[in-house]
């Protein structure tokens, strides 16, 4: 049967229009950094990002380049590399709408989309000031409460227009191997469209082997794939290669200063070679 389109990464990125409600993977999972660079060069605009459930380098870069109008996340930071400088600067100057969330609320919202239900209840959270910031989160009395009031929070479905991530491999039919990074499968189920860059496309069938199939997103959920060796550089890819610490440290420095970030972005613009897979 017809599988996902196989594109180069520039064409994969070109499928993401301005204004997209875009779900991105966390730094520790599968970040499609090579595709993100094509979006930066394009100066894609008005993205509404959903971090699954936290954001780091990808989001900070896009925010710094003026590509993002809104982000929903449980946290935005560069982890051990410190604060997300462009994110913080955009917030301080009121240029970015932040939808603060908490990790399980984002997972639950995506699961609601996965199940085609309008909302999901969730324990905890009540009494957090997050609730006041989120008019889309609603409190109801638990219809199954046994006695007295039992308030419980509802979070609405999060249905991204596009999920974008990077994975170790796709097979000839467009099935995508993700290992234990099951949040990538949740993203693919929840989003209307899914675009994936992979280290390599291999001539086999991941669904034929029971072990590998259990860790694979079927092609049904995948619109297009691009081969991008080391496509998660510099944040690194689970089970494949680690972070480029020098590059991440340099970016973290640049993110804290307008001029330094502009120079960093000019470097991305100039490095057209990054649009072509090796």
């Amino acid at each position: 049967m017809t599988g996902p389109a196989i594109l180069d990464i520039a064409d994969l990125g070109a499928r993401i229009p301005d204004g997209t409600h875009l779900a991105i993977a966390p730094d520790y999972s599968g970040c499609a950094m090579a595709v993100i660079r094509t979006l930066l060069r394009r100066r894609i605009s008005d993205l509404r990002l959903v971090a699954v459930p936290t954001a780091g380098f990808q989001a900070d870069m896009l925010i710094g380049a003026g590509c993002v109008t809104q982000i929903e996340a449980a946290a935005v930071s560069l982890g051990e590399y410190g604060p997300a400088g462009r994110f913080n600067a955009a917030l301080r100057t009121g240029k970015l709408a932040m939808r603060d969330a908490t990790c399980p609320a984002i997972h639950a919202g995506l699961q609601a989309a996965e199940k085609g239900i309008p909302f999901m209840p969730l324990r905890g959270i009540i009494g957090s000031d997050l609730v006041a910031q989120r008019p889309d989160w609603k409190l109801i009395d638990n219809p199954y409460g046994s006695q007295g009031r039992d308030p419980i929070l509802l979070v609405p479905a999060i249905t991204p227009e596009i999920a974008l991530f990077h994975a170790p491999a796709a097979d000839r039919d467009g099935n995508v191997f993700i290992g234990v990074r099951r949040e990538l499968m949740l993203m693919a189920h929840a989003a209307r469209r899914t675009l994936v860059s992979v280290e390599r496309i291999v001539d086999t069938d991941f669904l034929a082997d029971e072990a590998r199939a259990g860790a694979t997103i079927p092609a049904l959920y995948v619109e297009a794939i691009a081969q991008a060796p080391r496509g998660a550089d510099p944040v690194g890819l689970f089970g494949a290669y680690g972070a480029n610490e020098a590059a991440l440290g340099a970016y973290a420095q640049a993110s804290r200063d307008d001029g330094a970030f502009a120079a960093w972005l000019a470097g991305v613009d100039a490095d057209a070679s990054q649009t072509v897979p090796a």
Partner: protein
Amino acid sequence: MSGAAEIHIREILIARIAAMLDGCGHVAVGASSPIPGAAALLAQARSHGAMRVSVLGSTRHNFFTDGGRELFDCAAQGRIDAFFLSGGQIDGAGNINLVGIGDPAQPKVRFPGSFGSAYLAFLVPKIILFREEHTPRTLVERVDFISAPGTSGPDIYRPGGPRALVTGRAVFAFSPERAGFTLRSVHPGQTPESVVAQTGFRFDMPDAVPHTPLPDADTLALMRGDVARAVAETYPGFAAQLWDLAA
């Protein structure tokens, strides 16, 4: 920077937190938490196989296979006994602030965000608050933003919550009934008075406040051996600095 004989303050914190975890069946540690992570791995090493430890961001000490949501589902199932939370601010009612200072829409200071705190603080029975910096800037009378409240009303489902606060100066117990802290011990070099002076919130002060116990020789040997090597897998920079040990 640590000689073999000299005990680093961080080793005291690690040993003290590990002692708080005794008897737990499953301790989870969030990302970027080297001291709690080291404490959990020490407690595990002393449990003779009775304790599981999940360190987010670790490959060897993370057995979750159902994606990012599993930690939170696992907590809601009652399968996590202890977890650690921190805060840009922590106040005397046990509230923590991981969002920022000033108007959240245009903050003066922005912290990374609430992560899972707003959820895990309700569902994990033993939440240990940890913040190494102990100053009136971090331990405040009232947080600017409540990421996770210290306590909840009686009609709120809340099997868990903060039980203690460990800082670079002292150890506090937290009482959910009184919604407040009690000073339990001060670390070497501190006095109850120095702790009061550096704490922005009021807390109960017993008549006698002991010093935080130092790890004994066996604990130190374990910490600096097997535990240090396990810590280095997930926190190489931290392990290198504290124990001259790379991954």
